[in-house]
Amino acid sequence: MNISYNWLKELIDIELSPEETAAALTRVGLAVEGIHPHKNDLVLDIDLTSNRSDCLSHLGVARELGVITGRSLKATSGSTAAGDELDAVPFPSVLAPEVVRVDAPELCNRFTARVIRGVKIGPSPEWLVDRLEALGERSINNVADITNYVMLELGQPMHAFDLDKLAEKRIVVRTARAGEKITTLDEAERELDETMLAICDAERPVAVAGVMGGFESGITEATTNVLLEVAYFKRENIRQTSRKLGLATEASYRFERGVDIENLIRASDRATELIVQLAGGEAADIVDVYPQRQPERTVRSANVASAVKRLTGLDVAADECERILSSLGIARISDGEYSSPTWRHDIAIEEDLVEEVARHAGYENIKDELPPAFGAGEYQTSEVRKRRLRGALVEQGFDEAIAYSFIDVRHDDLFAAVPEFLREGGEDKFVTLKDSVIEGSVRMRPTLIPGLLGALRLNLNHQRRDVKLFEIGKAFAASGMGELPTERELFTIAVTGGEVHEDRAMPARQLDLYDAKGAVEAALEAAGAVNCDYRPAEISHLRAGQSGEVVKDGRVVGTFGRLNEEIAANYKFKQPVYVAELDLQTILAEPSRPAVYTLLSRFPAVVRDISFLVPRSLTFAEVQSSAIGADATNLRAVSFVDIFEGKGLADDVRSLTIRLEFRSDERTLTDAEVDEEYSAVLAKLKNELSLEPRT
């Protein structure tokens, strides 16, 4: 809201400089964002909060300054002093039905009209043009400018019709008929519906109530008789109409936030006075249709000063509270009861009174205090484990990503979601936005993988070929039956390129599946998720034969592997990309298991390494579990040593080397004992898996 400093001084005697005025207003919540010179005036740019529609005028801002300075408002020429008297116009005016009929009193709570005959439309005088221009308004003609001027002064929007363009020279306020059309002042044709309030003449709409006047009934140079409308409309209805029409005006802005229903006559008088003065003509009596006077709104507060103390800690004397409230127009009706001013739509409860007193007493006078001690703070139960998980990944060279939660529909069904999350079915298994601000991105992500792949693409575009990313965040799935969607916290990684060493330009080696898997293992271990198994699995977004799933306590909790060719091609990835996605929420739902101590053996272990040619379909895990099952009581561990493929071996086999560790807690094993158990293991592997040791 632009406010003229000179204009303010016409409304209240203040001795504050423009800068002091700005500081004083900012202090009470009318934030002055800037002071801009205009000719011999200074314009204050005030950023108003949406509850303070009363300050969308110079009168409103002057009222705040009145509280600040302790001075009362000056009477503006002619009107103010007479205001109260004029409110007592016969009700309803005897003339009313001939000129104005309100058919929708629930949407138009009050309507005034005044006819001014014999005006001469022409340019506005310089002072008026200047004042409007200072506030960023364009001058149109004297009558239109006056309606704008009075709106800026008193906050009440109004509209002037060419009386002779109104059929039967009368006004009917009613809801529009479906499909009824009107060309508004901006020369656009608009179609109305039956929820919208229209100002009509005897035949058709001549204005969209509270939003914009009609083009045909508007003031032109040929106009001689004017009908001045000053009215009050239901706020919600104006907002709705303005939304539906996509038409926001200075008038609709004020009406939807709330104007002062008891200020209509004063505003009409002020405009009439100026019209007669600047455009000539003779004003008739005002017609005031006010079917149901709004009941006075009251606020109960047994003791404002003690409420102020209770909520803000401020000590404000009772008479200072009264002074602030009464200067704001909040009158004390009786003990414990205050009236809420008709221009303040935001004063309804005691806490509102507290705010009024506190902001004028000054928030800077509120002390800094800490609440009394309460108890120990606590992290979310999973936070400590998530921090460890993040730490483990950072140690392994991963950068943490955060991607948008909405993704493009083109990712639909390309990626397998974590188990027991998405329902079966088509699009309705996803959570979808009605619209998005990013083209196509209307799906709430069911997986974090597309976000990370997009990031890999971006980094490759910037010549970063060696990238490891992880993200922890929520994925979303529809639950159906009108239930809130399911939200699941996932942990996802994507890696590509080589193993980078700090400060060294060349990567040490290319990353492969085992780097991705190693990161998953390290992360899960750091998060205290033990007992995880990994097994081969076919996953839709992963390349067959290089993919697996993570199993924890018998439940599949995630997948890992190399991105399949089709998706890789979509992203134009020319180097292998490995991804893993885990259901972190499910994993962390299990408590982490405490460490269990086992006795340190006093006896040495004997190890035997042994190599086999294994078919590619046979896994280390199968070999390991077969060996462990052998009749060998002192076999303590079967571990992986090496795997070799290629040169010198047939395509369908690999050479696998494992290590057997034998140890007893009671004695040192003899060679013979070890030999016997070793043979038992070999026999088991031979019988079960047809494996022969390589020599």
Partner: protein, 388 residues
């Protein structure tokens, strides 16, 4: 006797002749292998001239055989010869060894300025770094961390927060809706309600989390960002506690000298309401910095968001984070609206509380001097690796 002396003389002469090349070793310019070969050669020469079968050994054996009256002189002559031979051998040997040792050191000299070998360390997202710092501060102040749903019903996103149907904040086009009619939460204040329902009062929580607004991405707007919401409800809580708490955590984050400022404002879920600012962490409220500081902050190097401290030199340039005002506007706050308390089954006549909230992206952008807020969600490694 002369036989014997002749023998010594012969041994000496033979040694002198063989030792010739070792007298002036002139090792400069020779290689390690050459020196090692010479050392081996010298070893052989030593065996030949001082070993059991050497002429010198022969001469020693003769000592017992010469006439007793000559024995002493002869013995001394043999000793002198032996000493001369071994001295020369040892000198050459020492010279060679010294050369070999230093040649070996040279050959194995390493370049200690080459970067050490260590895998690249990754980086947490700046939002995580800031969130963890702030969580740590609040946990130490007795707050519990909470989070909850990101997709909400209108009840939690609006009604319970005293934003009834028809309220401008609700009808604004800011909120994302799903086709099922649910809202992506537009502020973390939803967690106030969920947490009070779950925990009851008294309560002290902060709730960090994602929120969503229908803003088209540009340098200062993103449709998804992070907020931290704080809530404290108990008997006797006042705005003084709000101010004290906000001031305390900002001091812990930005330093003891930080000052806060509260300005009256409006939020549907608080009454009275206030926006809060704090003194700029770069210029400490003056709005001015020295030209070195502004140069440092515009060309910030590897340290990313290193906090700059005031300089004694002339403060001539406009400070960037606060745009010269000395203050940084951070967030909104106020006393929890009685309707919000009632919605959670809390009696506003008995309990009162404060709430505050602020955006992490904006804060991080100021702290780290980030020019374009969209970088936060692009996951460009060049961006991410600037923070730790």
């Amino acid at each position: 006797m002369s036989d014997a002396n002749q023998h010594i003389e012969a041994a000496r002469t033979a040694f002198a002749e063989a030792f010739g090349p070792f007298d002036q070793l002139a090792l400069n310019g020779s290689g390690l292998a050459e020196a090692e070969a010479k050392l081996r050669e010298l070893g052989e020469l030593k065996v030949r001239h001082t070993g059991k079968k050497s002429a010198l050994a022969e001469a020693k054996k003769m000592i017992g055989r010469v006439a007793p009256e000559e024995r002493s002189d002869f013995g001394q002559a043999v000793q002198a010869a032996e000493k001369e031979i071994t001295d020369r051998l040892e000198k050459a040997e020492a010279e060679l060894n010294e050369f070999i040792t230093s040649a070996r050191i040279e050959r194995e000299r390493l370049d200690v300025t080459i970067p050490g070998r260590r895998s690249r360390t990754g980086h947490l997202h700046p939002i995580t770094i800031l969130r963890q710092q702030i969580e740590d501060i609040f946990v130490s102040m007795g707050y519990a961390i909470e989070d909850d749903r990101e997709i909400e019903t209108d009840y939690y996103n609006f009604d319970a927060l005293n934003i009834p149907e028809g309220h401008p904040a609700r009808e604004s086009q800011d909120t994302f809706y799903t086709t099922g009619g649910f809202a992506l939460r537009s502020q973390t204040s939803t967690v106030q309600i969920r947490a009070m329902e779950r925990r009851g009062v008294p309560i002290r929580i902060i709730a960090p989390g994602k929120v969503f607004r229908r803003d088209t991405p540009d340098m200062t707007h993103v449709p998804m960002f992070h907020q931290i919401e704080g809530l404290c409800v108990d008997k006797g809580i006042t705005m003084a506690h709000l101010k004290g708490t906000v001031t305390e955590w900002l001091k812990r984050l930005f330093g003891e000298e930080t000052v806060t400022r509260f300005r009256p404002s409006y939020f549907p879920f608080t009454e009275p309401s206030a926006e809060f600012d704090f003194t700029c962490f770069v210029c400490h409220g003056s709005g001015r910095v020295s030209s070195e500081q502004s140069a440092a902050s515009s060309e910030k190097g590897e340290d990313g968001g290193e906090l700059l401290t005031a300089h004694s030199s002339q403060l001539t340039d406009r400070c960037r984070p606060c745009k010269g005002s000395g203050w940084i506007e951070l967030g909104g706050s106020g006393m929890v609206h009685p309707n919000v308390l009632r919605a959670c089954g809390v009696d506003p006549a008995v309990y009162s509380g404060f709430a505050f909230g602020f955006g992490l992206e904006r804060m991080a952008a100021m702290m780290f001097n980030i020019d374009d807020i969209r970088h936060m969600f692009e996951n460009d490694v060049r961006f991410l690796e600037q923070f730790r």
